[in-house]
């Protein structure tokens, strides 16, 4: 078991050694368009979950951009709301919002703020930003689906720093108690939070064991391996008797080599045009 975990971690840690395919590059270009538009953003936090969101939106979740509130849809909550540029990239790509909107990121009348808002953006289920809220909302949505006899599934992406919040573990207990197999908690485990590496600020390991102890099927995956993610989500049992926790080992800032693994790239609020060009150029070579 340990050797397999180590292998997954190892692979994820070395993700930067593998080239990104065109689709992953395309989605990251959209993130950069947002960064350029706003002149700011949580770049590291938005780059690490791209493949997770890509696979969910491309292959797993049921939704209709023409009817964002379609009752039968699956629900997606980006609980780590500061990584919103990743979701905005997918919402643009899927046609929920126009690509030009990215250029308005964080501007006065934009629908796209530095954290996603449900009442402004089609395809955003819950306004997030304050950490540790999304999983409880997801529990409520998964229970609502049960009460209303819908087969909707709920996917909640959390940050690793975010799960320092006690509320996450209240929600985890609740999901375990209710055996919410239609709920999937995903931890974007890039090992870095705002101040420093998670191991320094608040160590989380052994993380799969923690989730398992709360009643989840806990599964580790290389969060940049599209094929592995695709297989994992395909094979999940959404009608079983346990919720699922996916510990996705990722690289903060993935795709921008000088930002990868760098705590200082968690958030930037002053990009010069030159820096943005450097990011874009680096991405092309990634």
């Amino acid at each position: 078991m340990m050797s397999q975990e180590s292998a997954i971690r190892q692979a994820a840690r070395q993700a930067e050694a593998r080239p990104l395919d065109n689709r992953s590059k395309h989605l990251r270009r959209l993130v950069v368009e947002g960064l350029l538009g706003g002149g700011r953003g949580h770049i590291g936090s938005s780059m690490s979950p791209i493949e997770i969101l890509r696979v969910l939106y491309d292959e797993v979740m049921r939704f209709d951009p023409a009817q964002p509130k379609w009752t039968g849809r699956d629900r997606f909550i980006l609980s780590k709301g500061h990584g919103c540029l990743a979701q905005y990239a997918l919402l643009v790509d899927k046609g929920f919002i126009a690509r030009e909107t990215l250029g308005t990121f964080c501007k006065k009348d934009s629908i796209l703020g530095g954290h996603p808002e449900a009442n402004k953006i089609p395809g955003v289920e819950a306004s997030t930003g304050a950490l540790g809220h999304g999983l409880s909302i997801g529990v409520g949505m998964a229970l609502a689906a049960r009460v209303q006899k819908r087969d909707s599934r709920v996917f909640v992406v959390m940050g690793d720093g975010e799960i320092n919040e006690g509320s996450v573990w209240e929600a985890a207990m609740s999901a375990g108690k209710h055996r919410l197999s239609n709920l999937v908690a995903i931890v974007d485990y890039n090992k870095i939070q705002s101040y420093a590496f998670t191991d320094e600020v608040q160590p989380l390991d052994p993380l799969p064991e923690k989730w398992a102890a709360f009643g989840f099927d806990a599964i580790e995956v290389d969060g940049h391996d599209v094929e592995a993610l695709s297989k994992l989500f395909r094979e999940l049992r959404y009608d079983g008797d346990k919720p699922t926790a996916i510990i996705a080992h990722t690289v903060k800032g993935r795709g921008v080599p000088f930002a990868e693994h760098q705590p200082s790239w968690h958030h930037k609020n002053k990009f010069t045009d030159e820096e943005v060009r450097a990011i874009a150029a680096a991405l092309e070579d990634a």
Binding site: S127, G129, M173
Partner: protein, 306 residues
Amino acid sequence: MRNTSLNKVHELAQKDSRVVFIGSDLGVGTLKAMKAEMPERFFMEGVAEQNVIGMAAGMAMDGLIPYVNTIAPFITRRCYEQVAVDVCVHNLPVRLIANGGGVVYAPLGPTHLAIEDFAIMRALPNMAVVAVSDAEEMKRLMDASLDWKGPIYIRLAKGGDPVISQPTDDFKIGKAILRREPGRVLMVSTGATTERCLKAADILAEAGITAGVLHMHTVKPLDCEALKALVPGRDLLVTVEEHLLAGGLGSAILECLVDCGVTLPKVKRLGLPDSFTKEYGSQDSMFETYGLKAEQIATTVRTALA
């Protein structure tokens, strides 16, 4: 009042499939009948108020109407960010039923008292704040709550409170009820203090002073129209509440009157000072400590008029 309120949740759930009940870790047998009849809409989620509120919000986002119940400080202070962000930012029809409003839990000390709940709940955009006077009025509030669009904070009184409300009250959330026509004096009160004000008005009447009582069961949205109609022409306005003077009913009333340009008469605000409670006892003994008993209110009015 608590039983009345919770039994009403059951009744509402029987007629509307959107209604669900969520408790934290309430007393043995709470809503036993509802649990037996519709277990899929009865939730007892443990001592985890942050999760309870977030979960209620998630349910409401998908069309359910959750009635959440636990002790007042734990449904307000403990999970304030969840109430603000998950419920109020999304303007969801979540109902927070708060046991032991004000100083009802006097014997249990300051951890269990809700003496700032009006202030912190009414500070949240979209939140309605209601404190009815008795169990009969609670029934009317619960009926009215079903189709209220946004969140509601419902403060419960002690229970067994004398019934002063009437079937003819035409109860509406946000609409004050004039219990006694004003003369030189108008008292404005909410929750359990309205009953004390009515008694105070009786005492004052014997002394030849006509004092009105406006029952402001809804602290937010405040019925400014009633205040604008009733305050001008009085010699004295008295606000009475089982709450800190900071940020509660009295504050809300003065904000409203000042913002509306009403010339203020002499004003006395009665409530709790800027201090955590220092004694135990009972709700009544605390009322005495803070000058909220009927006789004390009447004395305050007489002194202020002198």
